[in-house]
C-alpha cells in the first residue's frame, strides 16, 4: 500500500510550494503591515489598502488596465475562436502547417520582440500610441493563448453535430451559432478569462506600446518600485494577485466542469454501446 504522506513526499511538497509561493506570500503579509518600513513588521493593519485605493494615480491606472483587459480579451477571444474554427474546419490546404504554426508562434516569441515589432508597426502606420495600441497589442498576443484553449475543445467536437444542424435546415452560420458555439462555450469563456488575466498583468508589451495618458497598473507599479518599495504597493499587488487568481481559478473551474460533463457523456455512451 502506498502511504500518501510520508516524510519525503511532505518535504518535497512543502519545498515546492514554498519556492513558488513564498515571495507572493511575503507581499501579501507585508501588505497588512502597519509600519512604513516594508521589511519591518509593525503590527496588523489594513490602512495601506485605504491609502492605495485613495491614490488617484493608481486608481486611474487600474481603470485603464481593466478597460484594456476587457476589450483586448474580447477581441482576442473572437479572433482566436474564428481562426481556430477555420483551422480545424479547413482540413488540409497548401501551407496549413505554416499557417497554424504562425498562429501559435507568439506563444514562444520573447515578449520584448513582440512589443518592439508592434511598436515599429504602430510608428510606421502613424497610429497615436495610447489605449488602443495597448489593446491591439494585448489582443495580438492573447489571441494565440485563446486559440490553444479553444482548439483543444474543437478537436474533440463531433463534426456531425454541425452536419446534423445543416441537414435539419440551418444555414452554415446559424448552425455555428445554434450548435457549435453553445457546445464549445465553456472553452470560449475560459479563453476569455485567460486573455483577460494575461492582459491585466502584462508589463513588457504595454511598456512598448503605451503612450501619454495610458499608463497601466503594472507599469505604474514598476515605476513606483524603482523609487522604493512602499507598503502601498504591497497592498495594490495583493489586490492584483487576488483578481488574477480569481480569473485563473474560474477559467479552470469552467474547463473542469466541461470536462466532467464530457466524461459523463462518454460514460453514458459507453454504457449504452
Amino acid at each position: 500500500m502506498i502511504r500518501r504522506f510520508n516524510i519525503f513526499n511532505l518535504t518535497s511538497l512543502t519545498f515546492g510550494l514554498a519556492f513558488l509561493y513564498l515571495p507572493l506570500l511575503l507581499v501579501v503579509i507585508y501588505s497588512f503591515n502597519d509600519s512604513r518600513l516594508v521589511t519591518v513588521w509593525g503590527g496588523f493593519s489594513t490602512k495601506w489598502y485605504g491609502i492605495a485605493l485613495n491614490n488617484d494615480a493608481y486608481l486611474e491606472a487600474a481603470w485603464i488596465t481593466l478597460r484594456i483587459a476587457f476589450v483586448s480579451a474580447t477581441l482576442a477571444t473572437v479572433l482566436g475562436t474564428l481562426s481556430t474554427v477555420v483551422m480545424v474546419r479547413a482540413g488540409s490546404f497548401p501551407g496549413r502547417t505554416l499557417f497554424s504554426g504562425m498562429i501559435f508562434a507568439p506563444l514562444v516569441m520573447p515578449e520584448v520582440v513582440t512589443g518592439l515589432s508592434l511598436l515599429l508597426l504602430f510608428v510606421a502606420i502613424g497610429l497615436d500610441r495610447g489605449f488602443w495600441t495597448i489593446t491591439i497589442a494585448h489582443a495580438t498576443f492573447a489571441m494565440c493563448y485563446a486559440s490553444v484553449v479553444v482548439s483543444s475543445r474543437l478537436a474533440s467536437f463531433d463534426r456531425s453535430l454541425e452536419y446534423a444542424a445543416l441537414d435539419l435546415g440551418c444555414t452554415p452560420f446559424s448552425a455555428f451559432r445554434q450548435v457549435t458555439l453553445p457546445v464549445i462555450a465553456p472553452a470560449v469563456i475560459s479563453a476569455w478569462l485567460l486573455s483577460f488575466t494575461l492582459s491585466l498583468d502584462d508589463l513588457v508589451i504595454a511598456t512598448f506600446t503605451s503612450g501619454p495618458g495610458s499608463t497601466t497598473l503594472p507599469m505604474k507599479l514598476y515605476s513606483s518600485v524603482r523609487l522604493g518599495v512602499s507598503p502601498e504597493i504591497n497592498a495594490l499587488s495583493t489586490m492584483l494577485i487576488g483578481i488574477v487568481t480569481a480569473g485563473v481559478i474560474t477559467a479552470s473551474l469552467v474547463n473542469r466542469r466541461q470536462e466532467r460533463r464530457r466524461q459523463q457523456d462518454h460514460r453514458a455512451a459507453a454504457a449504452a454501446a
Partner: protein, 388 residues
Amino acid sequence: MNFLDPASAASARAEPATPQAPARPPLIRFENVTKTFGSFTAISDLNLDIQEREFFSLLGPSGCGKTTMMRLLAGFEEVTSGRILLDGQDLTGTPANRRPINMMFQSYALFPHMSVAKNIGFGLKQERWKKRDLQDRVDEMLALVQLEGFADRKPHQLSGGQMQRVALARSLAKKPKVLLLDEPLGALDKKLREETQFQLMDVQDRLGLTFIIVTHDQDEAMTVSSRIAVMKAGKLLQTDTPARIYEHPASSYVADFIGNVNLINVELSGMEGDLALARWDGGTRLAIRPQPEDVMTPGARKTLVLRPEKIHVTKDRPAEAHNVNMVEGTVEEISYTGSASTFLVRLDGGMLIRAQEANRLLTSRREVDWNDRVWLSWRAGACVLVDA
C-alpha cells in the same frame, strides 16, 4: 448474367407496396455520378434508381464509397460529374439545408445542450413552425419512438438505445421524402440491434417513407432491406433483393461478401437433359441446374457458388441420383454455434469444404465426429454458377 433489372427484383419480393411499376419514375436517380477527392475516386460513373417506399441498403466494406453516396444525397458533398435527381429534379447546387432529405447519423449527433424535445423540434424551428404545431409534431414523434415522458431529458441522461430513437425521431420530424441512415445500429449491442431493426421496418412501413441505409453488416442489410446494392471500390456490383443477392450472386466477390460460401472452380462439359454438367479439377462430375440467363458454353471455366447450409453431411453414402452431387472427405474441424454446427471437411483432392447442418439432435447424439470419413452431398438446384 443479368440481375440488374429492377422489374425482376420486384417480382421476386412479394409485397403489394413494392413500387417498381414500370410507369413510375424513380424517386432518386444517380446518373453517371462520379466523385473524386484529389486523386482518389470514391464513386466512379455510377448509375442507380431508387423507387419510392423502398428500404434500400448500400452494403460494402469500408472505403467502398457507400458513405460518400449518402453524403452526396444529403448535400454535404457535391458530385464531381454526373447528377443526382430527386423526383426528376436535379439536386446539383441545392445546399443540404434545402433538400427534403434528412439523415440519421452514426454517432446520432444529438445536440448535447438541448433537451430531447428541443432536439426533435430543431428542424421545425428552423422552418419557423408555430409553437403549437411544433409541440404537436414533437409529441407525435415521441410517441412514434415510444419515448413519451423523456421530452425534458438531456441526451447524456439517455441510454444508447434511447439516443438512437431520439435521433430517429429528430430525422423524421420534418417528414422528409427520403431518410438516410448511416450505420444506424452500429453502436447497439446484438439483442437491441435486432429489436431496433424491426422497429425501423415498422416505422418505415407506417410512414410510407423511402429509407436508404448504409451498413457494413450484411445480416442487417438482409433483414431490413427490400433491395441491396453491394458496392466495391466506388462501383455497384449488384443491386437486387436480399434473397437474390444471397442465392444468385452476380459474381464470386458478391457471393463471398454475403455470408459464408464455398467457391469451386469448374469446367463446363455439356448438358444432360435440363442439367449442366461440369468437371471439378480432378474430374469429379457435377450436375448443376442452370439459371435461365446462364450461357452454357462447353469448355468454359466457371466458379460454382455453394452455400454451406445447402450441403448435407452424412456418414453413409447417399443414394445415387442424377440430380445429386456427392464427394467424400475427412472431417477436420467442427465448430458448434448452438443452432447449427459447421464442418470443415478436407476432400481427398486436398480442398477444404465448409458444410453446415442445423443441430436437429443434441450434440451428444451427433453421429459425425472429428476425423470421420463423411459424404458431402447437395442437389443440382442448390448451387449456382458465376463467371470465374
